[in-house]
Subunit: 341 residues, 2 copies
């Protein structure tokens, strides 16, 4: 018996396999193999990472030690980059053990003496120097990168190169602004690379994957599933993930209520969109919607909800359902198995 | 060996047992026993519900079937109200089975013929009629409540009374506005109750727990843990839950970065607050903060983060750590075991 999306308990993540495969194939053509190091934080799902691997990307980017460990244990440990700082001795040691057991090659981002010492103490042996290129977040200023690299090498940590995320640029609406500011950011990264050395210059995201020709690998994550903000940027990727919800109440005053809410949607980018309706507001387990003229809803109807921000949406769910291309049949159900830290 | 909060892996939920007990004791004094039906959606933790039960509240409010089922299986099924509509036959049947097995008394909210039929078909036998009292969400308009009650009774479902949530009122800053609008909302609920009958008039929340003297039970949830929005309302409850984070990067330009972000915080009420720092912005796994003058941070330091909205924050975490009153020692760790639907 084939399971249909309308048989699913709601709320549930629905991934269109046609859209997913189109996104993965497009990226694999544009940035083949090692030119793209897909970021798993966007989907937190080893089954999806395995698809990306089948498209030729053997290296992956992770945001948390748990993502690294989960990828290694799923047999996807060919070349994992923790593009984040950690001073957690237990998690660092767990990653070092996976390297020792030859389950994974693991490279960690370092941006301070403290992170160098924590990685070295735990036995991790490969790193990138994380350089701040304009986003006020992690990363050593470019002029300090060489000293961190020296400190790492002194502690026996091999430095494979640099990374720097132009996160202040990836979402800009204007292509010209994105291009100009990416060039400025990458000039900072290349300056740091001159002092650091190594073969890797890792940067970028879905919004700058085509613009950023200075980095030799792009840490794009959102391209696989996409979301509303990125969809406004005229990128060659389509929205592949939605949340299916059930209408549980319809008011004679004109609104309807479906069973998706603040605990099944990332809300930092604002309200979701709902096919055939305007969104009024979200509560913990509800979204109140105003059905469009000619699209009345009744209790029990299903609606498809497009989250404004995919990454924190996926992190609320323990599975996602893959549908046949453009259809309603469920062909696979994947565990969202990289949640947590 | 005593575990200290600074030994915990981060991000992690930290619950001050002194603040929690004060909140629970205050509510148990003000609205003792059946006058308060604590809402578990705010904490999703049966261990915490057990504390509420020890304070004399034996009935509980739930927002999802999973919360009902989890409470019943935890031995807390004395009188569970699913204050929400469901037309999911599998989940409704799972709840009916718990009733049949005498593991729980379960009452469900009904606001339409469809929800009446779904509950009756599944074998559920007790209900409240959910009345819309001004919040544009679930609930039948007051003038339709009697008909839904009749339909339920015709299908063999016993109607215990009415519920109506003045969710448009609970967060208003002005006590006078809250009082006036609660009275208006409860006039609608009492009108419906006149048509429906039954002994229960269930309404209210933490923001109106003292104001709403028309309902005979209050569905307050947030009072146990509180959050930033409710803390502005001069209620006799204190913030008991924070997220502990580790500083992973410090910039010479003045900012620091800690490891709490969009995947460990509910963001619909905006940015969190951080003790000793201003919050600049949140990313998936980071919050960039500006330490206050005289409160410099270094890599490895711990910071306490107060989420703007507790409910969707808790839903990202699988456990919470209970500290001794006002101290740093962990005395218990509780599973957040009611997540999901």
């Amino acid at each position: 018996m084939t399971l249909n999306v309308n048989d699913l308990q709601t709320p549930a993540l629905i991934l269109d396999s046609g859209a997913l495969e189109a996104n993965l194939a497009t990226m694999a053509t544009l940035l083949p193999g090692e030119r793209c190091r897909p970021h798993v934080k966007a989907h937190k799902t080893t089954s999806l990472a395995r698809r990306q691997s089948a498209h030729g990307h053997l290296g992956f980017t992770c945001a948390t030690p748990l993502e690294v460990i989960g990828m290694a244990n799923a047999g996807l440990g060919h070349d994992l980059l923790l593009a984040n700082e950690s001073v957690d001795p237990v998690r660092l040691a767990a990653m070092a053990l996976l390297v020792e057991q030859e389950k994974a090659r693991i490279t960690i981002a370092l941006d301070s003496i403290e992170t160098v010492n924590a990685a070295a103490d735990a036995g991790l042996r490969e790193a990138l120097i994380d350089v701040e290129v304009g986003l006020p977040r992690c990363g050593v200023p470019p002029e300090g990168a060489g000293a961190i690299a020296d400190a790492a090498r002194t502690r026996g940590v091999s430095v494979r190169g640099v990374m720097g995320y132009e996160g202040h640029v990836v979402g800009l609406a204007s292509h010209d602004d994105r291009t100009r500011l990416t060039e400025e950011a990458m000039a900072l990264l290349l300056r740091a690379h001159g002092d650091v050395g190594g073969e890797i210059i890792s940067a970028g995201g879905t919004g700058t994957y085509a613009i950023n020709t200075w980095a030799n690998e792009i840490q794009a994550g959102s391209y696989a599933l996409m979301d509303t903000a990125y969809s406004a940027l005229e990128l060659p990727f389509v929205q592949a993930l939605k949340v299916i919800a059930t209408v549980v109440s319809v008011s004679p005053k004109g609104w309807a209520v479906c069973d998706v809410g603040l605990k099944s949607l990332g809300m930092d980018h604002g309200n979701p969109m709902v096919d055939g309706a305007d969104v009024f507001f979200c509560s913990d387990e509800h979204t109140t919607i105003l059905p469009h003229e000619g699209s009345p809803l009744k209790v029990g109807d299903r609606v498809m909800v497009t989250p404004a921000h995919i990454d924190p949406t996926v992190a609320y769910h323990d599975k996602m359902h893959l549908t046949e291309a453009g259809g309603d049949s469920i062909i696979e159900t994947w565990a969202v198995d990289l949640r947590g830290w």
